[in-house]
Symmetry: C2
Subunit: 593 residues, 2 copies
């Protein structure tokens, strides 16, 4: 096996060295995929088929000048697929790749940039000493330097990168840029870093397990609970910002941003401490969160409602609703968590109004069948570090994902047959995505549409959370909610667990509707499934890569994505900061403004 | 080699199983050492020679009931010494050991308790889930539980362990006790955890390198500078207390403590927020620091001095002394650092008054010849984790240390010959300890007496720090200092870099002079060298082990010691908390009250 991989790499390498693009293309099978994370293309893109691969190589080979392909330890083979890791270099950087061969030809290849030559992170043997010998008049202590940096940035010195939002995405990116010595400032509207978690509903815990959730550079200690409670997560992020020495303005709101073509700078109005300041960064990163822009449907009659109507993002705990009648609109994660919280706190009646089918999977089933292979104690025991796990996930082209995911959900359906039978009996609409490919696909396509079950499904089955499904809220009156099925519910509280808009709504609000339309929607693969219209793009739209607005970037996603993709965004920004040539091979046409 | 170690362990194990103490003793060479960290003896003790080993086994074998000795991977052999790691169990716990064989017989053996059966730390696969399924009326969120715990501890609920001092020692111990679920409270007199570092002189960086300085469970990220600046260290410790969820009362002062024999509890008066509270812990740990009790010599004429006299621990920076005449009494680490800081800030004259010889070694030499083997990037590359490094250090009996250290200092003397020639020429008194065994020995014997050179020695050589040596301050007048050699110095500032008293002075102050005298001095081996009078004890007095006062413990030392020995103290406390039988084999007689 080692041999197969090594031989292929050798041939491939030789073709690339002598610019033999046809020769290289012949090493690929009829079905083939090349996913590149910033190594060849200075963007994030999957090439499907020999034609796309050939075109990409023709355009990028000269500048990328790849070489030194080296198979790394322990390739494997399963069901006729040989696979293995490799290292390689380009003119500007060093990379890690992954290869799958079928009948000796490439089925999938992943190429990722890991560091820029001459700009390696100061880690391990390259770390700073922390002191200089002797007496150096005028030198500053660490504290004085740190304070000066914080005092000057945004005033005497402009940040090269301005990040809007200090959640996991903004902090992960800022940490990487800090290590790369790119002057970076975060503006976070909350009082403290981590508040974006703290301010969510009381019972919230992460739905992804701890092995999936490490931040870059500083993993959780090994007693960290499997599912982090939100406030604990908030404290961790606040600590992270502090010890990673991130420059983060809290209680600071980004009001408006405009790109000045002449100076190639942004002019960003930021409100801080009662004053409005103008910042002039070269790059603006919207790290406002996938779940940052509440999607609030208009509810006819809302003005007349005597109770409270609140979006799930603003719901601050069930304690106040003991003995009350509560209606939750929506049937995804937040709706279930909040419904359970209300039941737990003795609400008189909790009704979930489900509008469309939900993907439901228990967190245990996900651990056993989905996450566990790469993100678990067991995976760690098998030598699968977080970095290897992240790259393994990245190595699967999105086109192939559904077919790989389906068997998992077939197994899960059997495993939790009783649960699904119960849900069906209760009238709860569930599926595993249009094509049965489950939560991970649904997340990539829509960023929503699922419930990772931590117990609320049983409450639905038992009727402790009542269910109206399928139904819509038609209108509300003073004390009642009228549903589309004609039923009328008494209500003191209506929670709109109706999800979030696309991240480019932030661009519309902060920059302009024109810029938002020019860059188009964020997220989604173009899978031509519900809420993810085609055409197929094969990567998440606009995420962590150049957009159709110079200097505008989007950072977002769950903790795993924040950790992994912050690397590629950081390297793109660092290369620009250092004035390296970063020819972007491709900007996707915008189909969904 | 594996064979040699395995065979020895097998024979040893069989002897212990059948209670054949004579048989076991015969497996030891004529020169032999057994160091036990809490596994057999419930104390920390090195047994020297077959007689002591036989006596220890006779007393402890029944209760310890050791077994399951298992050689661990990759034993080695150098110069006729076979060495290897092993695992073992006792009736109550699991341990790790290290063995050195000479001619097939034991030269040194280390036995350490690593965990108590049934009370394993909730790490890795044993970690908490972080959420419970379903709706559980009345359940608390993580934040609510955390707040309740903090609100109740010391009021509605008494801590089992009270730790005085929130430096690295107190925090490391508290973190271990937290994972072991022993109710613990720290009282820290400063406003913030970490202030014990922040409040030191401006230019201070750790003198030990980063690989040596990790706290338990949460290592520094890999860009952390080699020598942590004090404020960065302060922030790290503050963050550590927070994310490890330690209960730490800041701005709280322990005023008085008395042991109540009848209830087997301490009554501890603590001043906090203007109120004096009484706490009643079962165990009191003084983690007030090796460098916690300033040693301030009486200076005749001090009242008449027009300038400022300050102990090094209170010196808050050289900026105010530009153009002034400064005298530093002492010639160890603090004296050098402060002297350099004063020179750097343009003091007109800085004079170091050296009273006795100092061990001087450059930090580079220490990295190359001493620390590097176990604590460095290179060591990590060779698979030597922090845990292995700590146990490796622990595996060397203190009696053997000087002879192992001497060659290191012979090499260093050669390496830095120019430096030492310069110091000699400048009249600076230096040595490598009475027996040439260097800094590590000196630290263990005295806890002081050395300078890890980070540049100030060159200032002494160049005369930028003037030197009076050997000399004492005889007396001071309004603007001058009269030295024992008859010289008179003009002085605006006198810094007393005169070190610290023994930790049992804290016991004298907080408890009573009687209790302090009963437990005796802390630290020191009884090496019969200067400041470390005999008789030989072979372990650091009173540190991390039972003392002659029930329920009184001392925690202290550098970051490595805080990390490593906090484990053994935590296990001793946990065993008592759980009511396990912890027969202490031996309490050292007190020779130095």
């Amino acid at each position: 096996m080692a041999n197969t991989i090594e031989k292929w790499l050798e041939r491939f390498s030789k073709c690339l060295e002598r610019g033999d693009i046809d020769g290289a293309a012949k090493l690929f099978g009829d079905e083939c995929f090349w996913r590149d994370l910033v190594a060849f293309t200075w963007t994030i893109k999957t090439f499907e088929g020999r034609g796309e691969i050939r075109a990409m190589l023709a355009a990028t080979l000269g500048a990328a000048a790849p070489g030194d392909f080296l198979a790394l330890a322990e390739p494997g083979e399963t069901e006729g697929i040989a696979e293995g890791w490799f290292a390689f270099e380009t003119a500007l950087g060093r990379g890690t790749g992954h290869l799958r061969l079928r009948d000796g030809r490439c089925w999938t290849i992943l190429t990722t940039l890991q560091e820029l030559k001459g700009f390696e992170e100061p880690a391990g043997p390259r770390r700073a000493r922390g002191l200089e010998h002797g007496a150096v008049p005028g030198r500053q202590s660490w504290l004085e330097r740190r304070r000066q940096e914080a005092a000057e940035l945004g005033f005497a010195r402009q940040p090269y990168v301005l990040i809007v939002g200090g959640g996991q995405g903004g902090l992960a990116l800022a940490a990487r840029l800090k290590r790369l010595e790119v002057p970076t400032l975060i503006v976070e509207q909350n009082e403290r870093a981590g508040d974006s978690w703290r301010k969510r509903y009381r019972s919230l815990c992460l739905h992804d397990p701890v092995w999936y959730d490490h931040m870059p550079y500083l993993p959780f200690p090994d007693h960290w609970p499997v599912f982090s409670p939100k406030d604990k997560m908030g404290d961790w992020l606040e600590m992270y910002a502090r010890v990673m020495e991130l420059n983060c303005w809290t209680s600071a709101r980004c009001l408006k941003a405009a790109y000045d073509e002449a100076t190639a700078e942004w002019r960003v109005q930021v409100s801080r401490g009662g004053r409005v300041l103008e910042l002039r960064p070269r790059h603006l990163v919207l790290a406002t969160g996938m779940s940052g822009f509440p999607s609030v449907p208009a509810i006819p009659g809302a003005d007349a409602f005597a109770g409270k109507i609140v979006h799930s993002s603003q719901f601050d705990g069930a304690a106040a609703w003991r003995g009350k009648c509560c209606v939750v609109l929506g049937a995804n994660n937040s709706a279930h968590d909040i419904g359970a919280d209300l039941v737990e706190h003795g609400a008189q009646e909790v009704t979930m109004v489900q509008r469309s089918p939900t993907v439901v999977v228990t967190s245990e089933a996900l651990m056993e069948h989905a996450w566990g292979r790469l993100y678990s104690e067991d995976a760690l025991q098998r030598g699968i570090t977080t970095e290897i796990a992240d790259l393994s996930v990245a190595s699967v082209p999105f086109r192939l994902l559904p077919s790989l995911q389906k068997p998992i959900y077939d197994a899960i359906r059997e495993r939790d047959a009783a649960l699904y039978a119960g849900l069906q009996k209760a009238g709860f609409l569930f599926d595993f995505g249009e094509d049965g490919s489950g939560i991970h696909s649904t997340y990539l396509r829509r960023g929503a549409g699922y419930y990772i079950d931590v117990g609320a499904s049983q409450l639905v089955i038992d009727g402790r959370i009542r269910l109206k499904s399928p139904a819509q809220i038609e209108r509300v009156a003073e004390q009642t909610v009228l549903l589309s099925d004609g039923s009328v519910l008494t209500a003191d509280l209506i929670v709109l667990a109706t999800g979030y808009g696309s991240m480019n709504q932030w661009a519309a609000e902060l920059i302009s509707p024109e810029v938002a339309a020019r860059v188009g929607k964020c997220w989604g693969l173009g899978s031509d499934t519900k809420y993810d219209p085609g055409p197929w793009e094969g990567e998440l739209r606009n995420m962590w890569k150049p957009t159709r607005q110079l200097g505008l970037w989007f950072m977002g996603g769950n903790l795993m994505q924040a950790r992994h993709y912050s690397l590629y965004l950081a390297l793109q920004l660092k290369a620009r900061y250092e004035g390296l040539d970063t020819p972007v091979y491709y900007l996707e046409p915008v189909h969904h403004p």
